[in-house]
Symmetry: C2
Subunit: 213 residues, 2 copies
């Protein structure tokens, strides 16, 4: 069985890696949205090309957690922390996939004419990004208040999503030639909504689950 | 430490409960879609009212898994199975939430005039349902081939989703008064896509993850 110091070291390592992985996801999300706003397909391609980095973190942290579970420590708060970390890693990996999906749509959008500047979409991306960041902090610090604020932000994301959708429907009715653009943008806002959803689900687990401190 | 027989019993219990939970999710999904097709808001309301049952399974199976992890068994295949079960339960719970969301939209849709019968949506729901079922079977039997067939079906769901979306955009351009209906239906197909997504993600874990047999 691992010594207490060894286990504390491994837990610290786990937290640090979770932070690194979530920072990577935030960065990819920011780059994906920037590639759309600035019509920069090269940046979008970089987001796509670098997805494997996030996937490697997923495998690495999963293995780290399994190692922690094999230490033989059976304290419930400890097991809850490690198993929840495994769930979070799955969510982060999926968020990374959504950032890649946004980058792919950005490339398609950059090939068709711009209609008007994006307003709600960058706002929505900003909120989603803040949710990812705060969700990880809430988990690591076991901060239910912060988790609640993540959870509350989901309504804002949903209403921005609805707003974007209605705006695009109106645009398409007025000018059917923009329907291709509308389809891509609705899908982008859907990916943002899903990223926010992942953060919200974890936040719920933090609020309603047992504490691990 | 639990005896080998006790652990085998607990693992059997875990598998049975996972099957029960996934059957419940499939049922809710079927009822939610039926409530839409048959314009039966009472059925939709029942789906909403019974969400707590799925949530209880989530807590119950999570506790069961934690108990298994506390047995002190450190064999890697065993730990992988139990931790993956915990991830699957989270996915099932979210799928249940999406069924509830579909039921809520069905109630709103049942209050506005029907435009034409649904064709692609029931088809999409059927595929999503089959994915949930087969994903659980693939996990329990550690059947990578079945997992692959789940994974492949995701493309069909995505193309049905795109088809529905394009159809609704065309309808709305032709007849702007149907835009409210279109918004609800796009959101319903989005929830179906997310359910399929959860199944696909788990299928990927089964295909690419280490086996636990």
């Amino acid at each position: 069985m691992a010594s207490k110091t060894q286990m504390q070291e491994q837990l610290k390592d786990l937290k640090e890696n979770l932070l690194k992985m979530s920072t990577l996801v935030e960065e990819r999300l920011r780059d994906a949205i920037q590639s759309l706003i600035k019509r920069d397909s090269q940046l979008a391609q970089r987001v796509i090309d670098r997805d494997a980095e996030i996937d490697r973190f997923d495998d690495f942290i999963d293995d780290l957690c399994l190692r922690l579970l094999r230490s033989g420590e059976t304290k419930e708060s400890y097991l809850r922390f490690v198993t929840m970390a495994m769930k979070i890693v799955t969510d982060l990996e999926r968020m990374g996939d959504h950032a890649v999906n946004i980058a792919k749509r950005a490339i398609s959008l950059n090939e068709i004419p711009e209609v008007k500047p994006y307003i709600d979409l960058p706002r929505m991306a900003e909120v989603a990004q803040s949710m990812v960041k705060d969700m990880i902090d809430a988990f690591i610090k076991s901060d239910a208040l912060l988790a609640r604020s993540v959870w509350e932000r989901d309504d804002l994301v949903d209403s921005l999503n609805d707003q974007i959708f209605r705006g695009l429907i109106t645009d398409t009715v007025r000018n059917p030639s923009t329907s291709q653009r509308a389809i891509h943008l609705v899908i982008v806002s859907r990916y943002l909504e899903r990223i926010a959803d992942h953060a919200t689900n974890i936040a719920e687990d933090i609020i309603f689950g047992s504490s691990w401190k």
